[in-house]
Structures are given as C-alpha cells and as structure tokens.
C-alpha cells in the first residue's frame, strides 16, 4: 500500500482543499482525508454502450450491466454518463451540481446568473432507497453563456464555461459542478453503481450512448464528487486503474491552467485529453498515441515511414503526457466513445457488438447482461484505441 499512504502535496493544496466540503454526515469530523487532500488508489469496473445509429437506449440497461461486476466496486462510488439525454435543451450547457445547503445554492445561482442565461433550473429527480444515504442537494441548470461576457474575456465559449466551472469547484465552498456538457449528463453518488442507477431513476432517461463506473477505492470516507465519471464539458471519463505517471502528468498539465483538485487519475486523464483534443486539436487516435504511446522498439520497427515519423513527433512533443501504469478508460463525448488500455494492457477490457450497438466493459459478463447475443467479443491490445462514432448523417 505504499501509494495508499496519504499524502498532501504541500501547503497550497491544503488551503485549496479547504474549499471542499463534506457531504458526509456531521457526526464528528473524520480525520481521514478525501479526494483533493490525498491521492486515493482504486480498482474499478467500467461499462459502456453506444448505438451507432443514434437509437435510444435506456439508462437502466447500463445500470444493470454493473450488477455482475458487483465485486469490482466496494460501495464507495458509482456513476454514469448519458449522451443525447436532453434533446429539448441540446443547445444549452447542462450543469449538474451538488450543494451542501440551500444558502450555498442561492449564492451559486447568483454567480451563475452573472455569467449565464439560465433557461431552466430544477432538482434532479431521485428515489429514496436505503442503499444510498447522506445525499447532498442535487440540481441541474441549463445555461447559455452571456455573449457580452464571453467577448469581454476574449476566449472561446467553451473555455468560458470551463473557467466558470473551475471557479465554482475551486473557490465556492460547498458547491460542486459534476457535469457541464451539452445534451449529456453525469449521475454519480457514493454507493454501488447499480444502486446509484436506481437512485437517479436512470431508467427514465434515454440516450444513444452511456458509460458507467463502479469504484473500489482503497481508502476514503466516500465523497460524492469523488465518484466517477469525471467530466469536463462533454468529455466524460470512466477509468479503471492506478497510474504511476500521475504526478508527472499533473505537474505538466497544470501549466496550462488546469487544476487537479481531486488528485484522482480520472481527473488528470480528463484534462490531458481535453488539452490534446480541444486545445492542441489532435485527433482521438493521435491523442491515444500520446497517452498510451507505442514503445520505441515498436516505433523503430515501423515500415510505414509517415506513421513512424508521426509517432516520433508525438512522443518528442508530449513526453510528459505519456501515462504509465495500469488503466482502461472509456471516454464519452458528443457523437461517440473511445476506449483505451494502457500500453502493457495491465487492466482487463473487452469489446463486443450487436447490430447497431457496440459494448465495452471490464468483463464480458457485463456485455452479456446488456446483450446476451453480443458478437465479435474481443480484447483490444494495449495502447490500441477503439473509437466508435455515430454513423455519418445520424442526427441527434
């Protein structure tokens, strides 16, 4: 458990972390540190499904898929991301938020109104079940950035949203944005993933693509914000593994304005992908070649000289974004999914298909739950990205 020991990376961190709040019950402040104050290793289960024809899939399906992988979680975190679930508000950023109390929500709403037009605000419907306790106040807001403010800041609209979200999450005590993309949403909680699905009434949502995550942290009092998926705009990441390159990646990506407040792998991986894809304009495949780069020995042997040159280029330019140690991730984004394993394939991940659907999961059992007749089940090799996009012409 050498990496399991709690470490706090310097004073600055501790101060920043004071901005975080406890959703835990008020009974005697625990001395245990949570996300943001300590790096917590965890094992996990992941699952995902997408209809390449954009057909509607109930959120209940993917929640059920987590059931056979129950033992891969330990009840300390579960979550889902659904794409295409808010067709009526698809032009608006959907902010899903946790609040510790009503006053915080009021403050935060004032903050939002200064920066966004809020077209709709509501409580996210949940179901009281014994398995999920100590829930915070959970709301969602559909918002559009105030264009005058965007222009004044001289940034792109997306960057504007990212900065507002980052400010809430780092500076606003008791408020936390856990989802911020358009026509998509994240649902997460402390609990087993199948229970989290019931809690959030996922069967009432329909989307063309879903990702799911069950968490097995080795030490944490459990914090709702620390559950996965982790999102930034419409990027959502579910991840199984514990990366050994964490601090190299973190210290690099923080140069570009990201703040790794949670100190989780998932958070840093999300920022890395956002940086490579949205800021550096790399393709998904190129981004995959950066974070799970082929070994030099493989590159040196390549006979396709253009391909070889490209890989040398990417490894020369982005050495600090290489991710080592075990991971399997599924990245959701508007229009598709990407699954990727670390380059040694130290974590399990299988892919299957049936008709218009593609399934991805830590275990085949999860795929079989979603589709007993799934075909072409295969295990992608380490570092080989599996990118699934909506078919051309499919409108959501």
């Amino acid at each position: 458990m050498s990496k399991g020991v709690h470490f706090v990376t310097g004073k600055l961190w501790r101060d920043e972390c004071l901005c975080f709040f406890y959703f835990q019950n008020g009974k005697g402040e625990s001395k245990m540190k949570k996300e943001g104050q300590v790096r917590i290793p965890s094992g996990c289960a992941i699952a995902a499904v997408i209809s390449t024809e954009g057909k509607k899939i109930s959120g209940g399906l993917v929640a059920e898929a987590m059931r056979p992988m129950h033992d891969r979680s330990n009840g300390l975190g579960g979550g889902f991301a659904g794409y295409g679930i808010y067709p009526d508000y698809k032009e608006f950023y959907a902010l899903h938020m946790f609040f510790d109390e009503r006053a915080t929500r009021k403050d935060c709403e004032a903050f939002l109104k200064e920066r966004f037009e809020v077209v709709h605000a509501e409580v996210i419907p949940t179901r009281k079940i014994p398995a999920i306790t100590d829930e915070p106040i959970i709301w969602r807001y559909f918002v559009a950035p105030l264009q005058s403010k965007v222009a004044a800041m001289q940034v792109e609209e997306e960057e504007y949203v990212v900065r507002a979200v980052t400010r809430i999450n780092t500076e606003m005590n008791g408020a936390y944005v856990f989802s911020s993309g358009k026509n998509m949403g994240t649902f997460k909680a402390v609990g087993f993933p199948e229970d989290v699905g019931i809690f959030y009434r996922l069967e009432e949502y329909e989307g063309y693509s879903w990702t799911a995550h069950g968490r097995y942290p080795t030490n944490t009092p459990g914090w709702w914000g620390g559950a996965h998926p982790f999102t930034l705009l419409d990027f959502s990441i579910v991840h199984n593994g514990e990366i050994s390159s964490y601090d190299a990646n973190r210290r690099y990506i923080e140069m570009f304005g990201y703040k790794c407040n949670l100190q989780t792998d998932t958070e840093v991986i999300t920022y890395i992908l956002d940086y490579l894809i949205r800021v550096q304009h790399l393709t998904l495949e190129e981004a995959a070649s950066v974070i799970a780069a082929p070994f030099w020995s493989t590159i040196d042997r390549k006979t396709d000289l253009n391909d070889k040159e490209k890989h040398i280029y990417l490894r020369t330019l982005y050495p600090s974004l290489l991710i080592t140690g075990p991971f399997s991730i599924v990245m959701g984004f508007n229009g598709g999914l990407m699954a990727l394993n670390d380059r040694l394939k130290l974590r399990s991940m299988v892919v299957g298909e049936k008709d218009d659907k593609v399934f991805i999961a830590s275990e085949e059992a999860a795929i079989r739950t979603m589709e007993p007749d799934a075909e072409n089940i295969w295990a992608p090799s380490g570092g080989e990205p599996v990118v699934v996009r909506l078919k051309e012409g499919v409108q959501i």
Partner: protein, 501 residues
Amino acid sequence: MSIDFLYPEFEVVRNMDRCITCRVCERQCANEVHAYNERLDKMVSDESKCVNCQRCVSLCPTRALKIVKSDCKLRENANWQNDGIREIYKQANSGGVLLSSMGNPKELPVYWDRMLINASQVTNPSIDPLREPMETRVFLGKKNVKPERDESGNLICKVPPQLELDLPVMFSAMSYGSISYNAHASLARAATEMGTYYNTGEGGLHEDFYQYGPNTIVQVASGRFGVHEEYLAAGAAIEIKIGQGAKPGIGGHLPGSKIVGDVSRTRMIPEGSDAISPAPHHDIYSIEDLRQLVYSLKEATEYKKPVIVKVAAVHNIAAIASGIARSGADIIAIDGIRGGTGAAPTRIRDNVGIPIELALAAVDQRLRDERIRNNVSLVVGGSIRSAADIVKAIALGADACYIATGALLALGCHLCRTCQTGKCNWGIATQRPELVKRLNPDIGSRRLINLLTAWKHEIKEMMGGMGINSIEALRGNRLMLRGVGLTEKELEILGISHAGE
C-alpha cells in the same frame, strides 16, 4: 624546519618484509615520493610530497604499501581545524589564493541521500524490466510548438532541434588541456557507443575527435578558445558556458605549462601562454546579450543544433533560469556547488553557490509556474554519483544529468584532488606524455560503457519497481519521492512530502 612546517598529511607505510625493491612505486609516482637508496639497498619515501592518489598502492606487486592519514596533528580544536590552520600557514608563506580541484569536500547536506524512492505494492503492479520493455530514451530540446497540419489534415512533423539520448546521462564538460587526450578519447568513444554525448569543455575539439561529432557537445566559454565555424558545425549541440558549480562567478585558468603541443593548437593560443577565461563573457553583460549570443550561434549553425546555456546554481537560480528559458536557448544546464573542477580557488569552490537538488527543484517549479517549462529541457550536474541520484533528479524534474567526476572515477581517478598540479598519476588530469599513456582509451572507454550500462540497468529496476515503464513518466513525478530528516522548508522547496505522509 620553518614555522610553516607541519607534519605531512599522509604517511607512506612500507612493509619491509614484503618490499622487494622492484622500484615500481618510484616509477609510478610523478610526485617523486619514492626513491631507491643504494647505500641502504632500500626504498625510502618523502611523504611530504604524497597526495594520496593510491597509484603506488595499486601497482605494488607485493602489496607492501599503504598510505595512511598521519596521526601527528595539532592539538584538537573544533573551531580551528587542521585544514584551516594549514591553509593559513600556506597563505602566510605565499601571499597567494588557495587553489583546489575536484568537488567541494566539505560536509554540506547531500539532499539526494535524504530522499527515498517509491515502489508499487498491490494497488498497481511493479513491472519486471527483464520481461517488459523499459524505456530510457530522452529528447532534449524545446517542446513548445503547436501542431500544424497540411491541406489533407496530416500532421506536419517538425520539431525544434533535439538531442536524442538513449539514457538520461551525459558526460559533462571537461576541456582538452585540463584532462588528457586519452581521457577525451575514452569519453568520446563511450558516448558514441552508449547513444549519449560528451562535452568538449572550453578547450576546443582535437582534430582526431571530429569523427565523434554526432555525439559531441561543443562548448563556447568566455575565453572562446578553439571556437571557429567548423568546430561549431562539428557538434550535435552547442553549450554556452556561463558558469560552473565549482567556481560560480569566475573564469578559468589553465597554466601555460599545460598549453603544449596539441593543446595549444586546439585552443588556438601560443604554446606556454596561460589560457585565461575571463569571469563574464565580454559580450554578455545582461540577459538580452545572452539572447544575441544564442541566436548568433543558431545563425552560424542554421538553426539545426540545440543551444545549451550552462550556469552555476546560485541563490537566484530560478529567476536566472526563467530568463534563460526566454532567451531562445533550448536546454539549460545547471551545475551545483558540489560540482568538480580541474582547478578553482578553494574559497570559491567551498563557499559559493547552492546544492543542485534545491536549485533543480526551484527551477523546475518556477518554469512550470511561469508556464515555460516546455521552452527548455533541464540538465543537472554537480554532483550525480549513482543511478539512484539520477532517478531522484529526474523525479524532481530534470530531463537528464551530467556526470564528470563519476566518469573520471571510472577511468581510474582516485580523487586525490590535486588535478591542478598537472601530475595526475592516473593519466587523466595531465599532459605529460609518460603519464597520459597510463590511461588506455580502449580500457577507459570500456569502463565508461560498463558504468553507464550498469546504471541503465539500475534505473530500469527502480522504474519498474514504481510501475513506470518510460523515463518520461518519471520526469517531475515528485510523488515518487519522500524526504527523510528534512525540515518543512526543505520539503517545501523540494516539493515533496516527508516519509510517512
């Protein structure tokens, strides 16, 4: 005997039962300690000249010799220690500045030894370097370009010039003149074989070594000795030497006695004249002047070669590095207070500068805070003693390390710290042909190759233990380090947590 006389520091102990008067020691000692006394038919010694280089000890066929520290000392005094008194006598006698060589021997904290490395247990797997690929390849140079594409959307794969290293270790600057031809030959060959680089130092490049150009860093120092167009073109990179850890703020001095034959020709100065490098570059009085020199060198080499700026670790090193990172330089080399030298004023060597660990940590963090860490690569030296030091340096944020004393030890240096006398019995820090030939470059290069090979194995073992299979993922990965016995302040500067946290 004068008032200056102190009993010699070392005693030569000869076991007369073993000595066969073969006179090997007499031939081997350039300091002329040993002599054969015909009348007595015995070897005798004048230990006052002995520097404890262990040459005679190593070559005595009957193991009859040993050199021991003399126990004839002045009365103990914690404040006035023997060395201090000895130095006062010397200066009272000569009126001169004290000269020393090799690195600072004082008991400064060695932070490498106060940092411990992590390993994986249970939650993620360690990796076995004997079964899985373990990568130590590093590129040094600017990484701050934004990808561009051609019309068909393909990446245009152009990056600023880079140095490619098979392992993150290079041989640091040691001039031809301060060390011997054979020492240079050994370094050049080993660097080539190991896919890394050696550094000419400020003495120019001997014509025989142009063939190793692709693995050579050519240095441009304040004296500009041996600098010409061909020289610049010959190297893989150009290093502007602003300072050196052993003597920050001052130039160099190679005595005329060492400026003989090829050394004089390579430096392009007359035989027997002292080679004096001024303290500053007289065309760099400010950071903007540095920029001009960087770009002059880039112009002269058509922007094909990275430019390194080497500085000594001094108090304000973070701000200095930040300036250099904006000067157009591709790589910053920082040399710490424990770094070696062929000759330096003792007071400067022992009192000026700061330890490399703190300098490195401060610089890496500052460059990140200013978001310019990508503008440059960082190379650190002074002193890196083992593969563990390298792993720790990389984890603190270095891209690669420079080694020099370690390399000389591999060549046979016994750290007698009298390089400035030019009488190195090991054929390294000397120009005397009969001494130079003691260092066989075939053996020397082999030993350097062995050293780097061994270190590479050890680096891989430690990386594998951490579950890291590429050195890139170790760079700046400070979570892999923990401090022991360090104060809050030291931990804060190093950017690491204490063991147990």
